[in-house]
Amino acid sequence: MKFITIDKKDWAKGIDKSRKTYQLFGPVKDKNGCKIKALDADVVPDMDYHESVMSAKSVLFPQTETILTTSLNEAVDDHHIMKRAENTYTPRAVLGIRPYDAKAILLVKMNFDTDDYRDPYWCDAYEATTLVGLGITKPGPFDFSTSVDCGPFCEEGLDILLADLDDKFLAKVLTPKGEAYAVACGFETTADDKESQALFDILRKEAEKNISASIETDKLSEKVLLDLHEAPFWDDVAFSCINCGTCTYVCPTCWCFDIQDEAKQKESSRFRNWDTCMSPLFTRHATGHNPRGVKVQRVRQRFMHKLKYFLDKYDQGIMCVGCGRCVKSCPVNIDIRKVAHTMNTFEKKD
């Protein structure tokens, strides 16, 4: 681990240099807000953005991703035999990713990269990706990341953490991947370790002080799963829900997907799309039976998965990094903090 100082005047030049070997992703503003997306050759990431409606999860887990292809032309030798799509996994770097989005990638990794199964598409993308985070000096009102073991300067999942010091960035290089990226940019002005760390500590503490939002989860692990499942409050929680997929799509930790096959003339492809547990189609069986056929079951599923099943299964906290995107984007203001409070304080009546 080391510290590097990057003069902001050299920033654009440096990242330009890295484009030779890295595909760059980063925040870009348009009239509909800010998105984390692949940067065109002449686009510099907007490092001053204060929020992005969508998280950075799509860099590793695109909303639609072709995974297998085949030819339906019987004159071709291996027709109808599905082969892995020719996606490229050359190095890529995400610039200006929020620390909570990087931590979210680690949570998603627990699903895509296990002892039993390795999702080749996600894992190959993950291995090719360097995450250059930007510490949040002015957390927004919806940020409750400090109450879920994350925070505005959380380093988990990042390869480099940047601190914005007005005219320069102070970079904390955390991994060999991060080091390689700094070299590719030609950023090499090292800074004093002790002083830099002290500065990071001050910035982190200042930023954390400005976070007033929080989520209450301390008693969730003690609750009996079926008691929560059968609790009477779900009807009230679900009443306003319109069952859209907004919360799941804006969430950096929601990883569910659906597989589809499509053919165009003689070319066929299999791809996966983000899916949402809010949709009745998510669980509908081929028989027509739907184990989560009504809205309240689906709403319960989302919160139980995030706040209880995940916690019980992995014992690594809840499946939430406190970015607050679902709170802000929900058309009917269903607030995960309020639901967590309801679950956390629930006592079964005998």
């Binding site: 348009d30 009239k31 509909n32 807000g33 998105k35 204060h50 929020e51 409606v53 969508m54 909303q63 639609t64 002015k138 927004g140 009102p141 919806f142 009443f239 306003s240 319109i242 069952n243 859209c244 997929g245 907004t246 799509y249 804006v250 659906d258 589809q260 499509e262 791809f271 799309n273 949402t276 949709s279 009745p280 189609l281 509908r284 081929a286 709170v327 802000k328 984007s329 058309p331 009917v332 203001n333 269903i334 607030d335 903090r337 309020k338």
Partner: protein, 315 residues
């Protein structure tokens, strides 16, 4: 508008107390600024939860469907028109609902207000026609009239068209020389630019279907995009499939859309979903003299035949 909440609560309490309805559907205060949440209150103790302000932009009509027993519902002009549509389309029975009508001075455009700030909004207050909006770095005083949603600024049915009780005095309706300036702007484009306009519109769509699910007339048990056996529309982010969803949904709303703006209100990506439906509303008015949801005794024009229907297309 802030004074009518007192009256709304009185009326709701009275209906519950007299046992005339089992629940009252309205809006509750949100957990963040500029947000409200639909709620059903069933007891006098819960009445205080009801609020009404310029951020009650969703349409409540769909919450009245499939309710057990008799319910009361708070209805702005547009909500009431969608209740009429629901009654005409047999989704609810007139005797099943008590409509608490609220003459509405319009809802605010959250995206337009958010665009005034560099950081996120932390406070929103309104008094009469003045909005006080603040972020961590800035406080702005705004005239509500300048920040209305586009559909509200073009609204000619602020007063509920069907109600049992009223929470405030009826308002004077505005008369517009041209109710469709937005459609005119698009119609004036040449075909390529027009295509580009609609193409750009769906560019950021994430297919969360919030527009559809917030829409009071989108109540099909299975939407065409959710048909799975066989599947009707591709489910990926392919542009053709995304556009197909928006175009077909709009056509399914033809002659039924009340321009309540719930689709725009719900879209997390800031897409002006109304651009798809507005031309159809204009056609309904020009060809059939029709505005949706004004009369429970009339069926929508594409749902009925009359010899007087325009037939210029037959040559």
């Amino acid at each position: 508008m802030d004074t009518c909440i007192k009256k709304i609560r009185e009326l709701a309490a009275d209906l519950l107390e007299r046992g005339e309805v089992e629940r009252v559907i309205g809006f509750a205060k949100g957990t963040i600024p500029m947000a409200t949440s639909p709620i059903a209150v069933g007891s006098k103790q819960e009445i205080e939860k009801l609020v009404f302000n310029s951020t009650c932009g969703l349409n409540l009509a769909n919450y009245a469907r499939k309710q057990k027993g008799k319910i009361a519902i708070i209805a702005k002009g547009c909500d009431s028109r969608n209740l009429v549509t629901h009654i005409v389309e047999n989704q609810i029975q007139r005797e099943q609902i008590v409509i608490i009508g609220v003459p509405c001075s319009g809802m605010v455009d959250k995206f337009k207000i958010a665009a005034l700030f560099k950081d996120e909004i932390t406070g929103f207050e309104e008094a009469d026609d003045t909005l006080t909006v603040s972020s961590l770095s800035l406080t702005q005083t705004l005239k509500k009239q300048d920040y209305l949603r586009e559909n509200c600024s073009l609204c000619t049915h602020k007063n509920p068209v069907l109600y049992d009780v009223l929470a405030a005095d009826l308002m004077e309706e505005q008369v517009l020389e041209n109710p469709f300036p937005d459609v005119d702007r698009i119609e004036a484009l040449d075909p390529d630019d027009k295509w580009q306009h609609f193409s750009d519109l769906t560019k950021n769509c994430i297919r969360c279907y919030a527009c559809r699910n917030a829409c009071p007339i989108c109540y099909c048990p299975t939407c065409f995009v959710d048909e799975a056996g066989p599947q009707w529309v591709g489910k990926g982010q392919n542009k053709t499939d995304v556009d197909t969803f928006h175009f077909l949904r709009a056509f399914h709303c033809a002659g039924r859309c009340t321009d309540c703006g719930a689709c725009v209100e719900a879209c997390p990506m800031g897409i002006n979903v109304r651009d798809f439906t507005r031309k159809l509303n204009k056609d309904a008015l020009e060809f059939f003299g029709w505005e949706a949801g004004l009369d429970i005794s009339k069926r929508p024009p594409l749902d009925s035949f009359s010899p007087e229907d325009p037939n210029d297309f037959i040559k």
